[in-house]
Symmetry: C2
Subunit: 322 residues, 2 copies
């Protein structure tokens, strides 16, 4: 069976045109120290410098911007306790719409406040009894809102692919691109962009050791579910790959590397002390895989996506201050 | 009495040509959040991304590069427990020379290791009984080394001015430039560059409240000595301005703002959480002055020098993690 891919390079280019001047064109950092340490030329695409502090704004804005004026007038809904919540809230505000975000009752105040700061309304649910997808769909239906899912949507995937597109436009040929994998939206978009431009590039995903649902699913040839992962990389604590994202990643991802929490913490600390940048745990897994020797052999010219930097100073101190 | 300034714009331009391709041309960061908060267009020249993690490499390299081949063969000396030590060590290595650094016995291992990592030899002294200037001069004389002081040298001052030169080349007209002041070398170089290009720009220095030797000296019209300042901004704990740097700053600095340790910590935390960058205490004082309302009125288009980012994760956690 062959089928048309749900997202192509042209969709990523379209998304890039939509976010131009609204999302940040984030910097690509180099480090002599890093290159010397790993014996390769490393290019870090720094989405911690993206608006809302993570790549999520790219996909959210692309998706929201394609809604009709009528729908924008009615508003947007999303379910997320993390960066997607802020991304949808900001995208809605930028496009003159409004957002309602469904969050677990025990979401930290700082995350709630961030979404409220972008003008969103927060609706809470009990994470132990509620199904966020069903609740989100009901909320959207009841209020006439457009639901923007965190990764299972072609416009979201295409938007997330713009970071890799920018990276490759800036640095040219790469042997491999290393991308954190949670629900799989960033990887699906990145792989679509990168293999569209460079068919021979190796796409390497990175998951937390305890959250290797995509690695298992790729090995099995179908989506495999795992118990709720215990990891500091909260943005990558998926139990099962998305159906849409997996259909893309199954076709385009070459391998998955795993990292443990200590390796993530070491990468965050190293980025802090050597690169002088702040990376959240989920954002640091690609760098962690490189620094911990989980990529073997190390490709000679390698891109890494640093996917986000949303961690407060107190939490960083807990994880990396000892 | 008029006298020829020890450093002019042409010297800063000369230094810029010397460091081109060797020092990093550091990024100028913007932040919508920052601009909205203070009601101004703010441009952050990020020397925390400079080689060795601070602006000091600019001046050290410029000074070392002007030594004769014979002197480079004999070697360099410097006295410093901080960023100047690493800067001289790296500059010496880059130019095929060698460096001997005089450091207090109680210098933290990490700082000693950093200089050793760049190939320097370390000589220690007792900070309670030894005079580092006299010891440094004796060391240089005994071993035939060229002593590169941390700020009292025209080539060092000219080199430090290249950060402001790059900033103004990139962003054009600014109403004011805010610069941390310790010994005064960064300010003297910055003011030389900035007033050379834009005679009407306001040069605003920032000192720790307890280390206001330059503010007092400017008010008195001559160099004033203060007790050893107690401040977390260790790079700005000067007891008296340099004679050479003060002669420049007296002519070119318009005002000095003061910040306390809590304001510095708040700025470091804010930069961490909002800008996703790491700034050491001395590097954060210009940003602290802006965020704490110590600049009043706030100039509409304002440049800030973020002068360094050398702080380890543990120390950051102590200062900002609570």
């Amino acid at each position: 069976m062959t089928s048309t891919p749900p997202v192509g390079l042209a969709d990523v280019r379209d998304a890039a045109a939509r976010i131009d001047g609204i999302a940040n064109r984030t910097p690509v950092l180099r480090s002599r120290t890093l290159d010397d340490r790993v014996g390769a030329a490393v290019f870090l695409k720094c989405e911690n410098f993206q608006r809302v502090g993570a790549f999520k704004f790219r996909g959210a804005y692309n998706a929201v911007s394609r809604l009709s004026p009528e729908q924008l007038a009615k508003g947007i809904a999303a379910y997320s306790s993390g960066n997607h919540a802020q991304a949808v809230a900001l995208a809605a505000r930028e496009l003159g719409s409004s957002a309602v975000i469904l969050m677990p009752e025990d979401t930290p105040d700082s995350k709630r406040a961030a979404a409220v700061g972008y003008g969103a309304e927060i609706v809470t649910y009990d994470r132990y009894t509620g199904d966020r997808v069903a609740l989100g769909e009901a909320l959207a239906r009841d209020r006439g809102l457009a639901l923007i899912p965190p990764y299972e949507h072609p416009h979201v995937i295409a938007g997330q692919g713009t970071a890799a597109l920018e990276l490759l436009e800036e640095v040219g040929d790469l042997e491999a691109l290393v991308v954190p994998v949670g629900g799989g939206g960033l990887m699906a978009g990145s792989a679509t962009a990168a293999k569209g431009l460079l068919p021979r590039i190796r796409m390497i995903g990175v998951e937390p050791e305890t959250g290797d649902d995509t690695r298992r699913s790729l090995a099995a040839g179908h989506r495999v579910s795992i118990p709720v992962p215990r990891t500091i990389a909260d943005g990558q604590a998926a139990e099962i790959p998305g159906a849409l994202t997996f259909s893309v990643n199954q076709r385009l991802v070459d391998e998955i590397a795993l990292v443990d929490d200590d390796e993530i913490r070491a990468a965050m600390r190293w980025a802090f002390e050597r690169l002088k940048i702040v990376i959240e745990p989920s954002g640091a897994t690609a760098l962690a895989a490189l620094l911990a020797g989980r990529l073997d052999p190390v490709p000679a010219r390698i891109g890494l996506i640093v996917s986000g930097g949303n961690i407060d100073a107190r939490r960083f101190a807990e994880l990396c201050g000892a």
